[in-house]
Structures are given as structure tokens and as C-alpha cells.
């Protein structure tokens, strides 16, 4: 209870994802002493509480379990709770959350990660398709030189900031260790700042990358997820794009937003309901159909679930779909079924006993 209470309160400072990581997807919750920077453990984290609960449940079951069908309901309830706890653990480890922000008339075949970014170097020489080299931000944080057989040059990661302030380069701008020699970043400076977990704030993930060829360094680029456009360069007769963007998950199907409705209660800005009519086209399975996605009515397709998640305030044409891949998404349903069966069985057993006692008396 204390953990949930504190985690909920701290969402104001950390945002939902920050609070989730700190309080519920950790073994111990630490508190950082102001100025000293010492980390003091103050609470058991969600993993620890869940693990203890799980062990306690299993231990209690085996120490008190007595064979016989009269305790079958209790066993089912226990099993359901165990499945629920294991399901949550698996979800926290393996669930992937993406978003698809799509505007009426637009067609997309990919979703974008809510939290993760990627550095991409795209060989865009082919007029029909791109060859994308994707480097996850976890690798960018290590810095150093990145070599890959798909590119005829190396990438030196000079700096990687999980969040940055970006300013125009003016005489008043402060000294910056890293500078872009070309592209949009040539006239900008980036200064590292702490990462934010707040939903209403955006991390400007930024990196300085030098492309090194066998002839020497080609140029240094500032890449940032705030830049709308990729930056371009040519080498050995091929055309490349470089950008830092939200990590993409490409799908073997495409979605077109036909219509987005966003009704509000009359005279207010409070959302009443919102829905997206989409066209799903899958060239592999030859599916081509229209689907209405609305609250509590997601589209489930190829292991992904598309929820109607949000909209952009003031923009009645852009729908935001939450795209979730959760291999253990069935476990809560199984757990609920087991608990319901157990409760029903136990209730019926007691009811029968009650009737028998009443009849006997």
C-alpha cells in the first residue's frame, strides 16, 4: 500500500514511466540525498514485494495443503493468483509498447517506440526501398566506434545525451565540447540535461556522430529526435541518410486512417468518445478490410493490439493508437478464470453444506 501510494504521488515528478521503473519494476526503491547524491534504500520495490508474495503463497499452499477435492477451490484461487503474479512479471519483462500517430488520409506500416530511440543510417540509393542500419540508444550510450559490414565507413559516437537543451549558436551561447561540422546542427549547440519521465515533457535525445571513411573523417553530425527531417550525405556513389528517431517496429501490413472522430460533451472540451476507422491491408494474407477502433474495442492482429489511446489536443484529424506486443497477455484472463472457478466452486461447496445442515436440522 505504501509502495503504491508513494509511487502514485511521485508520478507528479517522474511521470508514469519513471514511477513505474523506480517503484514497481525494481527490487529496492532508493532515495537520493539532496546535494550529497547518496542513494539510500527506503522501500522494497515491486519485484521484491511480488516475489515475496509469490513465495509466501506457494509456501503456504504446500505447508497447509491437504489432499482432497474439498480444497480444490482454494487451490484454484491460489493458482490463479500465482498466474496473475507471474503474468505481471512476464509483462514487465517482455511487453513492448509502441504508438502509431496517424492522420486522416495517411498510411503507415510501422509503429514507434514510446520510450526508446535509435540512430539510423539509411542507404537510400535504391529508388524503391531503403536499407536501414539501426543502432539502439543503449549501444549509443557506450560511445566509441561502430563498425558494420553493411556500411563502407565507421561511425564514431562522440557524445550521446538522453536529454538535451538545444540552442541557436549565438555569440552568447556557452562553450560546447562537441560541434557539428555540417547539417542542421552546424548552427545549433546541444547541452546535456537530466532525462525526464514526465508525460508532458519530451526528452530531446541527441548525439554527435562522426562518419569516418578510409580517407579520413567525412563530417560530424548532430542528430536529435527533435529534427523532423533526416540529414543527407553521399559516399562512394551511394546516398545515405542519418537521423536519430523514435525506434520503429515495421509491420508486414499497412494501416490507413480513413476517419477519426473525436466527440466532446457539448459546450466543453471534455472528450466524450473517440474512434478511428482504419483500413488494414496485408499483402501476405491478402486481407483488406475496414475496422473501427474505439475505447475498449482494440484491433488484435498478428500478435499486436492496437488501442485507441489518445488524440492531439486541438487537432481533430490525428489519432494516436497504442500498439502493444505482449506475449503473456492471455495470462490475466487465465488467472481471472481460475480465480472465478475456484471462488464459484468454494461458494457452491459451502452452499451445499449449508443446505445439508439445514435439512438435517
Amino acid at each position: 500500500m505504501v509502495l503504491i501510494f508513494m509511487g502514485t504521488l511521485d508520478q507528479v515528478h517522474l511521470g508514469i514511466y519513471g514511477a513505474l521503473e523506480k517503484y514497481f519494476r525494481s527490487f529496492v526503491v532508493f532515495w537520493s540525498l539532496p546535494k550529497l547524491g547518496w542513494e539510500i534504500p527506503i522501500l522494497p520495490g515491486g519485484y521484491l514485494v511480488g516475489s515475496v508474495l509469490l513465495i509466501n503463497l506457494i509456501a503456504a499452499h504446500f505447508s497447509r495443503y491437504k489432499p482432497g477435492w474439498k480444497k480444490l477451490g482454494i487451490s484454484l484461487i491460489h493458482l490463479g493468483v500465482v498466474v496473475l503474479l507471474v503474468g505481471e512479471l512476464l509483462s514487465s519483462l517482455f511487453q513492448e509498447d509502441y504508438q502509431m500517430s496517424i492522420t486522416e488520409g495517411e498510411t503507415k506500416s510501422y509503429s514507434e517506440s514510446i520510450l526508446e530511440t535509435e540512430l539510423v543510417v539509411i542507404d537510400a540509393s535504391d529508388p524503391d526501398k531503403d536499407i536501414v542500419l539501426s543502432i539502439p540508444e543503449a549501444r549509443l550510450g557506450d560511445g566509441g566506434v561502430i563498425q558494420h559490414p553493411s556500411i563502407p565507413f565507421t561511425l564514431e559516437i562522440l557524445a550521446f545525451y538522453e536529454n538535451a537543451n538545444i540552442f541557436q549558436k549565438t555569440p552568447e551561447a556557452p562553450a560546447s565540447k562537441y560541434r557539428a561540422t555540417t547539417g542542421i546542427g552546424k548552427n545549433l549547440i546541444a547541452l546535456e540535461r537530466p532525462k525526464t519521465g514526465k508525460i508532458d515533457e519530451r526528452n530531446l535525445v541527441t548525439a554527435f556522430v562522426t562518419v569516418r571513411t578510409k580517407e579520413g573523417p567525412l563530417d560530424t553530425w548532430m542528430v536529435c529526435n527533435a529534427f523532423d527531417e533526416p540529414q543527407h550525405f553521399d559516399y562512394e556513389g551511394r546516398h545515405y541518410e542519418i537521423s536519430l528517431r523514435r525506434k520503429r517496429d515495421y509491420h508486414p501490413f499497412k494501416i490507413t486512417l480513413k476517419n477519426f472522430t473525436h466527440d466532446r460533451y457539448p459546450g466543453t472540451t471534455i472528450p466524450k468518445n473517440f474512434s478511428s476507422r482504419i483500413r488494414l491491408q496485408d499483402s501476405v494474407s491478402n486481407e483488406d478490410r475496414e475496422i473501427l477502433i474505439y475505447m475498449n474495442h482494440p484491433l488484435r492482429y498478428r500478435g499486436l493490439t492496437f488501442f485507441q489511446a489518445s488524440f492531439i489536443e486541438g487537432d481533430d484529424t490525428t489519432s494516436i493508437l497504442q500498439v502493444v506486443r505482449n506475449p503473456s497477455r492471455h495470462l490475466p484472463y487465465i488467472a481471472s478464470t481460475l480465480i472465478s472457478l475456484g471462488l464459484t466452486f468454494q461458494f457452491c461447496l459451502h452452499l451445499l453444506g449449508f443446505f445439508k445442515r439445514r435439512k438435517a436440522s
Binding site: 486522416e104 488520409g105 547539417g183
Partner: protein, 335 residues
């Protein structure tokens, strides 16, 4: 004991899985993004980001923008009916004129037009020196709260790399009342050079200005700006983090007034530390024909720079006032 070992093993597995982030580099083929279909040079990239500029008509109110919505306004009629005016860009032709007009007709529950009917239902209008298509449609049924008809007046401006959609939608009579304003608005739109996304600082400090200084409107990234006598310029700026360190910034200032850089060992000889409230601030006074007198103050996650630049005689004569001024600066909590 084996049970404890098993438990520890399980905990270790969970720790490994929860602590590891995927660092593997992957290569894959992907369909081209629509916006990158026309490569390739920096020049073409800047053309893609070319923007239009406009003046908001007085009767309209600005509303929230989004990644697609480059302009967003609303109008409320005297009877309380809302009209939404949006300016949206899409890469390329975004489905084309025919598809988009029929999509709007679908929103008004109207039957789609055929290609032959298109020219009879559209007119031409000049926007930012280019020919655009103007279209107007009204619903047959009362589709707003089942009481009012809905009307759309919209213009589509195809550009080299993107299409612009200017759309006014709302209750029939309210939209009609703004038709003339909307048309005038469209014809007043101009083309602007590209801009970059730049963080704007907030006002986070308060201070007592000396009476002989003239306060000027701060231009970002300045938080405050003062003129001292004729040529003395004082700026207050905050940047996150250590911003390159004291030496790098002092050498940058030395370069600005024509002095050679110094080493880390020389730093104590030209700096002193004073207290600003509870925090120590580094004071540096660099003199040449021009002088720079500055305070560097780390405060929270930011570093503040209070910098006085001007002719040496002005900076010297105002040094005491400047140091007194530093003591009046108060840092407001971040919003």
C-alpha cells in the same frame, strides 16, 4: 538450501532480464518514407522545410498546434457555434486532390464525387504566389448534434515536397459568416525561410535593478538584459549543466575581446569567489580595450552567467554596482 539456491537463481535471472537493454545492431529493408522519396541534397532538405507565414484574423482565436497542424484557430459565432480552422501539411500529395475532397465529403455524409465532377465543384485561388484549389461543401443532413448542418470550406496547395491543407469546418451558418475572412486569410499567406526547433528559457529570476541601468527587453537565450551608460551591456543567461566548464567559457570570453586563451593553472589568478545567497559564484574580470566582468553561478541543474561587457572605463566604474546587483538576484523555483 537447494530451495534458497533456486530462489537466488530465479532472482538473478529476473535481475538480468530487467537490467539488460538490447544493444544489438540490426539491418533491415524498409519501404521508403513518403517524405524521403525525393532526395538528396541539403538544399532540397531545406526546401522541404520551407514554411508559410500568416496573420491571424482578429475574430479568430489561436488553438493548440500539433506535429501536423501548423496553424490552428477557432471562431465562435454569436449563437455559440464553434468553427475549427486548421492548417495542415502532408508530405507529397497526401493522397491527391480527388481522394481528399471525397474524404471530406465522407465526413459530411455526402456521396463521393467522380473525377468528371471534380472541376465543377472546385475553384482556383492564389496562396503564397501559387495556384491552389478551393472547395466548399455542406452536409445535406443535420449532423452536428443532429440539429445543425456542417460546412467545409478548404483549400489544397500542392507544393514540391508537401501539400498544404487549409480547412474551415463547423456549423453551416457560422462557417458562412467567416467565408470572406477565410478567403482573405488565404490570399494574405506568405512564404517564409525555414526555422529550427529551439528551446526558449523561462523567466526564473528576480532582481533589483540599479537606478542608473536601463532594462531592455530580453531576447532569448537572455533572461534579462541591461544597458549601462552608452555601450555597457549586461546579460543574464542560464544554461543546463556545466556548459563546457569555467575554463572553456572564460577562454571564449577572452577570445571575444582579443585575448589569448589561458591554462587551467592560470585560472585562480584571474578569478575570485564570492557568495551569492547560499551559493558560491566565480567572478572573472578580463580587461583589454574592452572588458568583460562576469559571474558564473551553478544553481541546481543549471549554470547562470551574469556578464557585463563594455569599454574598460565603464566596466571599471560600474564594477561595485555590478557586484551589489549580484547580491540582489533571487532564483525562483522552476515552474
Amino acid at each position: 538450501m537447494p530451495a534458497i539456491k533456486r530462489l537466488l537463481f530465479l532472482v538473478a535471472i529476473v535481475l538480468m532480464l530487467s537490467g539488460c537493454k538490447d544493444k544489438s545492431i540490426i539491418v533491415y529493408e524498409a519501404p521508403k518514407d513518403i517524405r524521403t522519396k525525393h532526395p538528396h541534397s541539403e538544399a532540397s532538405a531545406s526546401t522541404q522545410t520551407n514554411d508559410l507565414s500568416w496573420e491571424k484574423p482578429e475574430a479568430w482565436e489561436s488553438t493548440a498546434l500539433s506535429s501536423f497542424r501548423k496553424g490552428s484557430f477557432s471562431f465562435t459565432s454569436s449563437s455559440g457555434q464553434k468553427v475549427d480552422i486548421s492548417i495542415i501539411t502532408f508530405p507529397e500529395k497526401a493522397g491527391g486532390l480527388f481522394e481528399n475532397i471525397n474524404r471530406w465529403r465522407d465526413q459530411l455524409h455526402l456521396l463521393p464525387l467522380s473525377q468528371d465532377q471534380l472541376s465543377d465543384n472546385t475553384t482556383s485561388i492564389n496562396i503564397a504566389g501559387q495556384s491552389a484549389t478551393l472547395v466548399e461543401m455542406v452536409s445535406e443532413a443535420a449532423i452536428i448534434e443532429e440539429k445543425f448542418k456542417s460546412r467545409i470550406i478548404a483549400a489544397i496547395l500542392p507544393d514540391d515536397q508537401q501539400s498544404w491543407f487549409f480547412k474551415m469546418i463547423g456549423e453551416d451558418t457560422a462557417v458562412l459568416s467567416q467565408k470572406e475572412t477565410f478567403i482573405s486569410f488565404l490570399t494574405s499567406i506568405k512564404r517564409e525561410p525555414p526555422k529550427s526547433e529551439v528551446a526558449q528559457p523561462n523567466q526564473e529570476i528576480s532582481y533589483q535593478k540599479p537606478t542608473n541601468w536601463k532594462e531592455l527587453p530580453p531576447t532569448p537565450p537572455r533572461q534579462a538584459s541591461f544597458q549601462v551608460k552608452e555601450d555597457g551591456d549586461i546579460s543574464i543567461i542560464a544554461f543546463p549543466g556545466e556548459v563546457g566548464g569555467n575554463l572553456a567559457n572564460i577562454n571564449r570570453w577572452r577570445e571575444q575581446i582579443g585575448l589569448s586563451p589561458i591554462n587551467n593553472e592560470d585560472l585562480p589568478t584571474i578569478t575570485e569567489t564570492i557568495m551569492m545567497g547560499d551559493s558560491p559564484a566565480l567572478i572573472v574580470h578580463i580587461e583589454n580595450q574592452e572588458s568583460i566582468l562576469a559571474a558564473i553561478l551553478p544553481q541546481g541543474s543549471k549554470t547562470w552567467f551574469v556578464k557585463f561587457r563594455g569599454p574598460s572605463d565603464i566596466v571599471s566604474s560600474e564594477k561595485a554596482t555590478f557586484l551589489q546587483f549580484l547580491q540582489t538576484i533571487h532564483f525562483n523555483p522552476s515552474p
